[in-house]
């Protein structure tokens, strides 16, 4: 029974990883097809690096991701602070439900409704509309990451700071923000991955001139196999590994700190 369950697990992991490994394996294959390995080459990586359009799109994607996550983290943290401060339960529940609308809506609905929104306001489609959309769908996840930390914060700490003469600004910058910073970082990280991962929303609001990696991959994949995409996926896989590693490390060090604090308290 135990052997059987192990075997099952191994099978699931093979299925989960086979397509990704397959993709990366052929990024090192000569020729132009994703069938029958033709021998090792760096050619597709060289092509990728020599493709100015692709490099510009990578730069665009990273710019949108970083900028949108920064702004979303700022707005989301402020939002979490205000939700936390509302004393009325009903108001808080309404705010939280509104917050979660974009979390549960299907991508196409977000994309289509934002497209109507931008067109109604006559905001031109392109970098600006993509950036605004990304900020918009990243804010709720930041709020959800920051709120639990705010709940853990003891009110007596704030009262003590106020009694000792802290102004509102000092209270925020010296007490609250340092305490909730792990949540803020986690929120920023999630926002970043949401932005890098998004296809559908961007696809709707991107217009003609501007493109992100997901949209570019989609339009190239529709034309068939192109091993440059495989090389790109190799690079992106490495990048994801780094991000996951970083996130894991962040969580681990948080937990260690928590354990230490609990150890000190008992």
């Amino acid at each position: 029974m135990k052997k059987l369950s192990r075997l099952y697990l191994i099978l699931v992991f093979i299925i989960l990883y086979l397509p990704i490994l397959y993709l990366i394996m052929y990024s090192f294959s000569q020729g132009t097809t994703m069938t029958h390995y033709h021998g090792f080459t760096w050619q597709h990586y060289r092509d990728l690096l020599a493709d100015p359009r692709m490099l510009a799109i990578v730069a665009n994607t990273l710019l949108v991701a970083l900028l949108s996550s920064l702004i979303a983290t700022l707005v989301g943290t402020l939002g979490a602070l205000s939700i936390h401060r509302t004393s009325k339960r009903v108001t808080r529940d309404v705010l939280l439900n509104l917050n979660n609308i974009l979390m549960v809506s299907p991508d196409v609905i977000i994309g289509a409704s934002f497209l109507i929104f931008f067109t109604t306001l006559k905001i031109p489609l392109g970098f600006g509309s993509v950036l605004l959309s990304h900020i918009a769908f990243e804010i709720p996840i930041v709020v959800l990451m920051v709120l639990p930390r705010l709940k853990e914060m003891s009110p007596s700490m704030l009262a003590a700071a106020q009694d000792l003469g802290a102004t509102t600004r000092e209270l925020l910058s010296r007490v609250i923000v340092p305490f909730i910073s792990p949540g803020i970082f986690a929120g920023f990280f999630m926002a970043l991955t949401y932005s890098l991962d998004d296809f559908a929303v961007t696809f709707f609001v991107t217009g003609n001139g501007f493109s992100t990696l997901s949209v570019e991959i989609y339009s190239r994949a529709r034309q068939g196999i192109n091993l440059e995409i495989n090389a790109l996926s190799g690079v992106m896989f490495l990048f994801s590994l780094l991000l996951v590693g970083g996130y894991y490390w962040l969580q681990q060090s948080n937990q260690r700190r928590k354990r230490k604090r609990q150890g000190a308290a008992s």
């Binding site: 697990l9 069938t35 402020l78 205000s82 401060r85 559908a200 529709r222 996951v244």
Partner: protein, 271 residues
């Protein structure tokens, strides 16, 4: 803090709520009452309910989403269960999460290669003696790839539910003479049902709207609600009809949420 300052802090978030949450939903409902000539009309809804095409497409989409959710659940529950008994489960869990960080389009693109005429899937079929088949651009390949993409999103909530389960219940059940299967059916599964529901929520709704997969893998044979919306918005430019289908999708989403949300308060013995 003074009242005025607090209000200022709320301003950006409040603006976001108004502009990017409330306004777009209102706009998509509003737009659904307009026809191609910008006249207010109920034609889109009449069209949706009267012509069999849209209803059939909706049923089809729901059916496919159901199949995808079913297969995902059947694969994910045992996986989460076995995973939860492992020693370094945090590490293995991370390995489940990692594929979700790979761009969904790259995963879809990988399957274009795998399912192609000379691809590895056909090599395998040839090896076991079935012979090569047309795999790409079939309904089955669409379901397979969608299931593949959704598996981690089902494993995670089920795993969390298993983690929340108090092992004392399982031990008590075994001590009282239930065998392993009875324990699973009467104790473990009912207590982890919230996790399954959360997983269904995370898989079913997106499966209604996976338009990129229907294009890349399904070869436009499968039309989901998402495909129809994309088609109306970006190809035929009939935003009114697209919005109408969007409203249908929103209604479908609300129904699914209602069915899978736990309304009863979470009880149970304190641990």
């Amino acid at each position: 803090m003074t009242k005025r300052k607090t209000w200022l802090y709320f301003l950006p978030y409040g603006l976001w709520l108004a502009l990017f949450v409330i306004a777009p939903v209102a706009l998509i409902v509003y737009q659904s009452f307009f026809n191609l000539d910008h006249q207010v009309t109920l034609d889109n809804y009449a069209n949706y309910f009267r012509s069999g095409v849209y209803l059939k497409m909706t049923l089809n989409s729901v059916w496919y989403a159901f199949l995808i959710t079913l297969f995902t659940g059947l694969i994910s529950y045992p996986t989460a269960y076995v995973l939860h008994q492992l020693k370094h489960r945090q590490f293995w869990l991370l390995l489940v999460i990692l594929p979700t960080w790979i761009n969904i389009l790259l995963k879809a693109y990988a399957f274009i290669g795998i399912f192609s005429q000379a691809g590895v899937a056909n090599d395998f079929l040839r090896f076991i003696g079935v012979g090569p088949q047309q795999l790409l651009f079939t309904n089955a390949s669409f379901i397979f790839v969608a299931t593949y993409i959704q598996i981690p999103f089902m494993i995670l909530p089920i795993y969390n539910a298993l983690d929340d389960l108090n092992p004392a219940y399982v031990n008590a059940s075994l001590d009282l003479g239930a065998n392993r299967w009875q324990t699973f059916r009467r104790v473990i599964f009912p207590l982890t049902l919230p996790g399954v529901k959360a997983g269904v929520q995370a898989v079913f709704i997106p499966s209604l709207s996976l338009f990129m997969l229907t294009r890349l893998i399904g070869g436009n044979k499968v039309i989901t609600l998402g495909t129809a919306i994309e088609e109306h918005f970006l190809t035929t430019m009939n935003w009114g009809m697209g919005s109408t289908i969007g409203v249908v999708l929103i209604v479908a989403m609300i129904i699914v949420m209602q069915l899978t949300n736990d309304h009863e308060p979470r009880g149970g013995a304190p641990r």
